[in-house]
Amino acid sequence: MVFLLRRLGFYVIAFWACITLNFFLPRLMPGDPVSRMFSQVQSQMRPDQVDALRRLFGLDDRPLWEQYLAYIGNIFRGDMGISLSRFPSPVSEVIGSQIGWTLLLGGTSLVIAVILGNFLGVLAAWRRGKFLDSVFPPLLIFVGSFPYFWLAMAALYLFGITLGWLPLSHAFSTGLSASFSFEYIGDVAAHLILPALTIVLVSIGGWMLGMRNTMIATTAEDYITMARAKGLRPARIMFQYAARNAMLPSVTSFGMSLGFVVGGALLTETVFAYPGIGYQLLTSVQALDYPLTQGIFLTITAAVLAANFLVDIIYVRLDPRVRVS
């Protein structure tokens, strides 16, 4: 319990640091990015909306600390301002309409990469120096060396343009409306394959190698020798004895890797014009839509922090040593 409370405290501080960064970035940056944004949008807004925007970016005359407190208050009320590129929708609405796609893409590829990567790692460590152990790690490191976006473009070129097997961009075909029909779900799945594939390809090597290395250390433990001496079936020793214990570091890296997946999703979404918040983040930057940029950044960070807290809770369940100390 103490452990979880400490972690929770840490996440709260981390989130506070992000809000603070968000608050000060537009106020302290040279080159006055906010005026650039204003000159672009002022004509299409009502005076009270311009006023609200001015307050959001500190162009009013209130003292800094007052602005800061008001800013934090707004964030916790879910008020992140109004999007300029999608005027007049509020930022929270824009994010809400797109976060589902990122969760779908990131979640699917993360789960596949973690399960497959760890499984391969266990097998590679168990059969040291055999085919799986000698061919896959270097191959996967090599594939993982390609930039996310480049692999995405290669996959797009090969399977989308040249072979024409899979759709080129977006999350579903135009003209199709969201429903629980077989046609719609199939269409979404078809659009998901290429982006998910690229994320899985890049990230699976890390999981495999990490698992392999802890597995090798675990198989040298006495209780594995004991299990062998008892004559247990190899599959039982491999999964029930060795892999279960070697999994703990993987659980920790699961939390850490969420941030990478979000980043990978950002690049992949850009290549496939996939309508998630990663793609929206980039378009908002290009459109100088700072409220949306900041809102998406905060949302992503909050999501990653929350997910990490969940991982902590699971970790406490898995590792009794944490509960004792």
């Binding site: 501080i13 537009p26 473009m153 290549v271």
Partner: protein, 312 residues
């Protein structure tokens, strides 16, 4: 093998009467000698080093191999690879080989600067954290963990959006988002050294804090520093390419990332000009792979359990 490596220095100091003060035994010298020897006899490391040297030479010789400004538009647009243009031309008539050669300069420089700077900050924070302990450790660890947890690429995008564009911005932003990982690794390693007797001895003899940190502790974790440096350089090259590809870097310069950015912007995928996209991406991957191989080798040398036992 580490013993045979260090004996020559010992005999020369003993056999030479003009040397009055014998060199103080530097802790970690033995392990270090074995390390260099290990690198030079490891196939993975040698292959990785060879690839790096080739790329560095190509980058240095770019003005000789492909004279002129690589970004200048030419009359021959969208040509497939041929004898005149070994890697073809872009839709603007630029020579792809020249772009790739010149691009390696910016990509390698930024990658190594970012890697070195991030590792340096990581060393500073990690070792200070482990050496001073208590409140300083709590504070620095908190800072490190926050930076580790904030998703890197979104932070990169937000920072790049607000900072004025230019090459310095790219480096600064990449260092800000890249140092935390190394600080965490180096801290845990320094922490285990902190409790060793030779550090306690140095403290008792009244050595200055920075001297203990950088002359006593740091040399003993050289291999870990080396492997974090390699990791940081890989990160630097990849993240720069990502940032440039998104159009948030320095779009005026020529680097592997900007090459891909322009290729994508000019619709090279849709027109089927695959040769414009291939070289820069492969170059990034090959350099990253070479660095990863060296890193892998460092791991094997310092952690004997990962070595495949030779049979017979």
């Amino acid at each position: 093998m580490s013993l045979t490596n260090s004996t020559p220095t010992a005999t020369t100091t003993a056999g030479n009467p003009t040397v009055q003060v014998p060199e103080p035994p530097v802790p970690g010298r033995l392990a270090h000698g074995g390390f260099v020897h290990g690198i030079l006899t490891n196939k993975k490391a040698l292959f990785g080093l060879a690839v790096l040297v080739v790329f560095a030479l190509l980058a240095l010789l770019a003005p000789l191999l492909a004279p002129g400004n690589p970004s200048d538009f030419g009359p021959e647009a969208s040509l497939a690879p041929s004898a005149a243009h070994l890697l073809g031309t872009t839709s603007k008539g630029q020579d792809v080989l020249a772009l790739t050669l010149w691009g390696s300069r910016s990509s390698l420089t930024v990658g190594f600067i970012v890697g070195i700077a991030a590792t340096f900050i990581g060393c500073l924070v990690g070792i200070a954290s482990a050496y001073f302990g208590k409140a300083i450790d709590e504070l620095l660890s908190l800072l490190t963990n926050i930076f580790l947890l904030i998703p890197g690429l979104p932070l990169l995008v937000v920072l790049a959006a607000f900072l004025p564009p230019g090459p310095a911005t790219v480096v600064i932003v990449l260092v800000i988002t890249g140092w935390a990982g190394s600080a965490r690794v180096l801290r845990s390693q320094a922490l285990s050294l902190r409790s060793k007797d030779f550090v306690a001895a140095a403290v008792v003899t009244g050595e200055k804090a920075w001297r203990i940190m950088f002359r006593e502790i740091l040399p003993n974790m050289a291999s870990i520093v080396m492997s974090t440096l390699l990791g940081c350089v890989i990160y630097g090259i990849g993240a720069q390419a990502g940032l440039e590809f998104l159009g948030l870097g320095d779009t005026g310069s020529v680097s592997w990332g900007t090459n891909l950015y322009w290729a994508n912007n000019d619709g090279a995928l849709m027109t089927g000009d695959w040769w414009v996209l291939l070289p820069s991406g492969v170059a990034i991957a090959v350099v990253a792979f070479a660095l990863a191989l060296i890193n892998y080798a460092v791991d094997e040398i310092t952690n004997p359990r990962l070595r495949v036992e030779k049979k017979g």
